[in-house]
């Protein structure tokens, strides 16, 4: 394990270079972690919206209960509907009161009579929303159809865009990290040219000389990835209450410890590969 001692010597003698290498790795893995959280979070938001009633049909005051029940049966018979729930005027009032319980002014003059009864419908496939919505709009019982398809479509599009931007940013940062590591390892090799020459003359094998540089690259990757992960988890923990208060009603929580551990493990493996790859390039280039 003499190479561990040599690696430590390398780090101790040029701490600023070591710091630069660790810092670029930290940035890369910080961004990897943040985008992972953003993607997981946006998936959760989409799932939340998908689980909500996707079409709400508000009935006219004169709509009779038997007619509404018949319409409900017709919808179920299409086979496209996964869930239908009838909300009476009284239930609508309860929902309203619950929602605005902290604002008595808004509750003061509202009675069940002025609130419409409604059907809340979820479809098996998101593509069936349009046909169900059209069918409801044609019904003479229905006053208004609320159809939040655009919200989900927009969110899905945003998530896709975020994934693409995240991937591009990670690729650019990983390339940056590789180039900077190659340069730093190259400088370190140049600084130790005489030492390397002496070691060769004393009988050092090529691998004895190469290993400390490869291990050093790997170590920078691991340390950078660990702190990148740690800072991103810290940021998530700090900002989650702010995000949840902003996205009121959407149940967001800190990722499970298992998921965080899996992310750390994956990042450490990736960091070992990235560090080794970059220092191998430098060793092949400068230690012929």
């Amino acid at each position: 394990m003499a190479f561990l001692k040599t690696t430590w010597h390398h780090v101790r003698r040029s701490p600023y270079q070591a710091f630069a290498a660790i810092f670029i790795m930290l940035q890369t893995f910080f961004v990897v972690s943040i985008f992972t959280f953003v993607i997981f979070g946006s998936d959760k938001i989409i799932n939340y919206f998908e689980s909500l009633p996707q079409v709400i049909a508000f009935f006219k005051n004169e709509a009779k209960q038997e007619s509404i029940d018949a319409l409900k049966e017709q919808l179920i018979d299409t086979g496209k509907v996964s869930k239908v729930h009838f909300v009476s005027k009284q239930e609508a009032l309860k929902i309203y009161e619950e929602k605005f319980k902290d604002d008595p002014l808004l509750l003061e003059f509202v009675t069940a009579d002025i609130l419409p009864s409604s059907l809340q419908i979820s479809t098996e496939k998101i593509d069936d929303l349009s046909s169900i919505s059209e069918a409801l709009q044609k019904s003479s019982l229905v006053k208004e159809v609320v159809f939040p398809k655009d919200v989900i479509t927009n969110l899905t599009d945003w998530t896709r865009a975020l994934r693409k931007i995240g991937t591009a940013l990670i690729v650019v940062l990983a390339l940056d990290a590789i180039f900077i590591m190659v340069i730093i390892t190259g400088i370190k090799i140049s600084q130790r040219k005489e030492e390397i020459e002496i070691m060769r003359l004393l009988g050092a094998t090529n691998w004895y000389i190469r290993w400390p540089f490869l291990f050093e690259g790997m170590m920078y990757g691991v340390v950078g990835a660990f702190f990148g992960w740690l800072f991103s988890v810290g940021l998530l923990w700090y900002s989650l209450p702010i995000i949840t208060s902003f996205l009121r009603g959407i149940p967001l929580s800190l990722a499970s410890p298992l998921l965080l551990a899996e992310l750390l493990g994956t990042e450490l493996l990736l960091a070992i590969f990235l560090g080794m790859f970059a220092s191998s390039l430098a060793v092949l280039r400068y230690l012929k």
Partner: protein, 227 residues
């Protein structure tokens, strides 16, 4: 032990090399290699440790065919030959102890045994008190002793000493040569390249004289000048 057969080394820039050198050194011999600066002494040493390849000829060191030696075996050859380099080649950011233990680390020797070996050898060469100092804190003679200790730490069969008394005062030179003679008496083949006329003439050992890359003299009990 060492056999050079019609060895020539020509440099691209026209600098002096070796021309048709044939030389045999037996196990346990002490040989002075004398000659002016640029006569080819250091080139001969560099060829023996395969720091460079000859333009022609064959070189045998023990069982190693130096010219045909595969690249991965060069480290094996270098561990068999201890070298005291002209410029010493000590690592200035390591202590004397760390410099001397380096060849053992390269050979993967266990730390405790290696430390014991280094302590013993530093005691033998007389610089045990300096073990934790850096090269810059040592005198010229002490640095030579440190370089000799490093060259001997793997108990090599051959010791090549390139101008080990250069820039040293007469008394220190005498001490260094005595150290090399002691090493030779224990069975190590020693080849010492030198300009030091007094040392060569006093000891009456084998003298090989080089001039412009050619052996001009090889005497069993020789002197620095023509006998």
């Amino acid at each position: 032990m060492i056999k050079l057969d019609n060895v020539s080394k020509a440099f691209g820039n026209g600098a002096s090399g070796l021309f048709d050198v044939t030389l045999a050194v037996e196990k346990g011999e002490f040989v002075f290699l004398v000659g002016h600066t640029g006569s080819g002494k250091t080139t001969l040493f560099r060829l023996l440790i395969r720091d460079m390849l000859p333009s022609k000829g064959t070189i045998m060191v023990g069982d190693f065919d130096v010219v045909k030696l595969p690249h991965q075996k060069i480290s094996h050859l270098r561990k068999k030959i201890g070298v005291v380099f002209q410029d010493l080649k000590l690592l200035f950011d390591r202590t004397i102890f760390e410099n001397v233990i380096l060849p053992l680390e390269l050979s993967g020797e266990k730390t405790l045994e290696a430390k014991k070996k280094v302590e013993d050898l530093l005691f033998q060469v007389g610089i045990i008190e300096q073990r934790n100092k850096f090269p810059i804190q040592l005198s010229g003679g002490e640095l030579q002793r440190a370089a000799i200790a490093r060259a001997l730490i793997l108990s090599p069969d051959i010791l090549l000493a390139d101008e080990p008394t250069g820039n040293l005062d007469p008394q220190t030179s005498k001490d260094i040569v005595k150290l090399l003679l002691d090493i030779n008496e224990k069975g190590t083949t020693v080849i010492m390249a030198t300009h030091n006329v007094d040392v060569v003439n006093k000891l009456t050992k084998r003298v090989v004289a080089l001039d412009k890359g050619k052996i001009i003299r090889d005497e069993k009990k020789g002197k620095y000048g023509v006998s």
